[in-house]
């Protein structure tokens, strides 16, 4: 579990930790990069949208092994749960924008969905919960 405040200065620290964790779990370099990018974008969304750039709000991150049955085999993976206590998020605002447009903004969700096998947003009591899961290809599994 990793607890941090919503100050953007912690983003680089979190990226380093997630990248190293993914590497230790056996993800290939390019997937370490994309998982790290997804978590970074998710945290940025919390800071910007949930906490409206207030730097002193709590964020909790939970990491655990995940597994699923795929084609008769058990596939291992990494599950990351990001929790914040901002206002409830409207599901319709979690769609991302079309990539056909050339304009700034709206790319973070696209990066998250591109990187992860599972992206689930739920609201539980006063907490926004974003669950991200990435599974390893069988030959990379060291979990």
């Amino acid at each position: 579990m990793l607890a941090l405040y919503s100050n953007p200065k912690w983003l680089s620290v979190t990226r380093a930790a997630v990248d190293r964790l993914a590497e230790v779990l056996g993800f290939p370099v390019e997937q370490c990069r994309s998982i790290t990018r997804a978590v970074d974008e998710a945290l940025t969304n919390i800071v910007r949208h949930s906490y409206r750039n207030r730097p002193d709000q709590p964020i909790a991150m939970y990491f655990r092994k995940a597994h699923r049955r795929q084609d008769g085999q058990v596939q291992q993976g990494l599950e990351i749960l990001l929790c914040d206590r901002g206002p409830a998020v409207e599901a319709c605002k979690l769609q991302g924008r079309s990539l056909d447009e050339i304009r700034p903004g709206g790319l973070g969700l696209h990066f998250i969905r591109q990187a992860m096998n599972t992206v689930e947003f739920t609201r539980k009591g006063p907490t926004n919960r974003l669950r991200l899961v990435k599974y390893l290809a069988q030959e990379n599994s060291v979990l």
Binding site: P8, I102, H110
Partner: protein, 110 residues
């Protein structure tokens, strides 16, 4: 993240290093837009060879720089993209929108 600027002929070259993320992309955005809009430099070149990471807010800053350049008829050039930076531009489907060169020499000769 560090950013510095130098001038060569009619080109302003920004040297960036480190990570461009939500914490510091506003500095990149403001520096680049000020150069384009106030100095009216005909060619703005961003040397990204020392940038290890760029998030979506960094990409947004580049898009704003590109748009401001187009509005004023100047050129906006990216140089020395790392694998990570190239990745995000490809994922954003913006890689073909920018004028990109491998190194500064090629860009200056273009």
């Amino acid at each position: 993240m560090q950013i510095s600027a130098r001038r060569h002929d009619k080109t302003t070259i920004f040297d960036l290093s480190g990570d461009i993320d939500f914490a510091n992309s506003p500095v990149v955005r403001e520096s680049v837009l000020r150069e384009i809009r106030e100095s009216r430099t005909p060619r703005v070149l961003l040397n990204l060879s020392q940038v290890r990471y760029m998030d979506s807010s960094g990409v947004a800053s580049l898009v704003e720089g590109l748009k401001a350049s187009r509005d004023l008829g100047s050129r906006f050039i990216l140089v020395g993209l790392s694998t990570s930076t190239r990745d995000v531009l490809q994922l954003s489907r913006l890689i073909k929108v920018f004028e990109i060169y491998d190194n500064e020499e090629q860009a200056m000769a273009s």
